[in-house]
Symmetry: C3
Subunit: 341 residues, 3 copies
């Protein structure tokens, strides 16, 4: 059963032309923030996990275009929700996604969903059940506000790169580097960075400590497909020096190694050996006057030094700002598609 509804679940579902048009509209919103694109429209923002930037930028963005965001936190100030189908609901969940999605679709014009992995079993988490449950049952467009990928971040990141390098990013040397963090984190932003960087035709190096830190095959496959289509390149490297050499872009992110998913106690001593992956000025000096970014939140002097964060090369604040602009463009595009405009 194919749905006629246009969602924003992953950038991979949208054409490069659509993505570029969205980035163009975002740049227009950056120049002029107010509009009527969402007049009378509403969006429910469902946060199964905490948020600052995402929530602020969606709530504000909807308002600046004449719309209204409703913030819901299922399991905190709303009911816990069941996502499996056909179950006898005798556990914690008081309500099924079928009802939640259909009722919300009667109230609002779009539904944003943030649902992080549970970090127990990757074979379960990689099904992205919450997001796909909403996409299956909702009768309005669904937006991924970060699950196991983070496409809104991708667009904000791409926009920040366009601001530095111009619209054509093909051939730029892009390093996605793993960095240390005391806890095992979500691979979402790493998956997304890999996806969008290859999509835009860059020469991408995935730099990580060992083969255990390579990303899920779904996203490695997307990257390979993108390279084939866009004419870019994809290299996996475990050597810091050669990876940074002549880079135009250094994008940092920490994530847990998938083979140890859920067994974090076993991964911890491995991860702790790679604190030197921190982005510092010595590494940045190897680049071709490259820019540095990170999706935020970022632990200073763990993932990147104060010196890098406070340098002119750092575009993380620009990228964060761009979340507002790109999300306004995504919401506007979805409403036009939904209403045949």
């Amino acid at each position: 059963m194919s749905s006629p509804i246009k969602h924003f679940l992953n950038t991979q579902d949208w054409s490069v032309a659509e993505l570029n048009a969205t980035l163009d509209e975002a740049e227009a919103f950056k120049r002029s923030k107010l509009g009527k694109q969402l007049e009378g429209r509403s969006i429910a923002l469902l946060f199964f996990n905490p948020s600052m930037r995402t929530r602020t930028s969606f709530e504000l963005g909807a308002w600046q275009l004449g719309g209204k965001a409703i913030v819901l936190q299922p399991g905190k100030d709303a009911w816990p929700v069941e996502f499996d189908f056909g179950t006898v609901m005798d556990g914690e969940a008081e309500e099924h996604i079928a009802e939640v999605a259909r009722v919300l679709s009667r109230y609002v014009d779009m539904i944003g969903v943030r649902a992080f992995p549970k970090f127990v079993d990757w074979s379960v988490d990689r099904q992205d059940k919450v997001l796909n449950g909403f996409a299956k049952y909702a009768t309005v467009p669904v937006i991924n506000m970060e699950t196991i990928t983070h496409p809104c971040q991708e667009l904000a990141h791409a926009m920040a790169l366009r601001e530095r390098f111009g619209k054509d990013l093909r051939g730029r040397k892009y390093v996605l580097t793993w960095t240390y963090h005391p806890k095992a984190l979500n691979t979402a932003v790493a998956n997304s960075a890999l996806t969008i960087a290859t999509r835009l035709g860059m020469d991408v190096t995935l730099l990580c400590p060992t083969p255990d830190y390579v990303l899920d095959e779904r996203y490695m496959d997307w990257a390979e497909q993108n390279v084939a289509e866009s004419g870019g390149a994809l290299t996996v490297s475990h050597d810091i020096e050669s990876a940074y050499k002549d880079a135009d872009v250094v994008y940092a992110k920490s994530w847990g190694a998938l083979p140890y998913f859920g067994n974090w106690a076993d991964e911890k001593p491995i991860r702790d050996q790679y604190k030197h992956f921190i982005v510092d000025s010595t590494k940045m000096a190897l680049t071709r006057n490259g820019v540095f970014s990170h999706c935020l939140p970022l632990r200073r002097n763990i993932k990147a030094t104060d010196e890098v964060m406070d340098s002119p090369a750092c575009i993380a604040i620009d990228e964060a700002e761009n979340r507002l602009h790109v999300q306004k463009a995504v919401m506007s595009a979805l409403m036009r598609a939904q209403h045949g405009l």
Copy 2:
């Protein structure tokens, strides 16, 4: 001391003509969602308990009519409140309802209150102290967003029935059936269904496992009064087959038995014997092509089967949608009354 302020605490306080006018206005809002009825007006929504539909529909409804809802969660992101009068406040509560209600009344034009029973002592909970405390001290209209009754749900339910059967519901066979749930739940929606169904002149059967599951005498009395005035009927039944026979409407709800209120461990083995009260296709086949509804949230395959929930007979999603429309009509009516329009 009688207050000149018109509240919406229970449908029983409003005339049938007022209720019908409110339903008519709700139907108009369903056809055309935007308006200026609440322009410049605001409502504080106080949630002492979690909510998804209620919060979304009130917050959105106020906005669609030009108004503003402020969502407060006392005891979570606001102060715990004292509702008893004359006490020396040396316990948990940092503030008295007298101040809360009067201060909020200075800020906003209406106050919505959700406050579930504490499930320890029904003789205390049945006093509905939180709602009545607000109604006593507030100088603006107060709306019941579910306490020990749920009048907003009643109107949404009545509206869904009007959509299926037309405005005159008199004489329709209406079954309010208890269903199983692993926990003892609030009687609010059951009290409310009994109230509105008799008010609208239907032939009402209250189907429950044993006499212990009959509702509080206040609501049984209201139902009797309503029957006397509306020309309907009220029957209590413990026999599933005869209750469902030829029904036009099956409305399901689970609730805890009042004689065991607070002694839920004792009630549990009793309740567990009645899992077969689940609404399923076999039972629905006994009806006169009847409709099924439930207030939501609903545990699938516990209260009703997937088959019933996904059948054309199910109007639960319509009823949920109607919360938005009826609440807009209630807020509009209260503002007209308050401002002499």
Copy 3:
């Protein structure tokens, strides 16, 4: 490095002329609540601690002037934040104030901050790190929504006094009285009351049980400076009767004794000896037909009796209402300053 941005961190940073102009504008907003002063503008409200009045009045006030408030609760539905500089962030905090403040400044036009002391070490808390961190890094105006002072409350209080006594409050006898509370509370409102009362030239008595309850020297110094400039007076008293004698204003607040800061178990038996500081009718009878107020929340029959709270002398509800009006005036003034209007 001096910032060109005008913040509202303490009334002491604003001139008396600016404060009076703000109170005048607040009175205009009290007469006519809607306006366009914040059209297209937004404010992030960061609550590190719970709130009812502050949140409602800011959120509503922004809306009534055409603006938008975004409510964030760091550590609850947003990330925990680091406020120290140069640290290796290997603890709880996921993000540094440098990023939080700069990113929020890209989204919104103002930032409101509520951050209570941690009540462990006054030498740390008195640095007001959270507020000052935002003021240091934000590129938009920052408003103190209560930290170790509460300047918004000061303005609301001053406005309520002007409503009773006229604009010239010089020479009025003002008693700031400590009252009992079962827990050791923040000195913020006491610091603020002392500051604004001396600033406005009143004859101020700080009434407290023992010298241990005198306030921090920073605020005692501000009060002395204010007295020197305004021609008022400042007296510290431990004698209830003479303090209340002929007072025009009695302002009550409970707070913990600074020498016992963090050692509350040791302070408790001392504090418990002074329950008779409760504001009651006998004490109020000593005044010159004085008014009573308190910032709320207030525990009835602990800090003040029901009789006092429900008497015509009590202006606490007016003061609470005025929060809405003065904050609208503060936001409007900051936007005019920021945009050179």
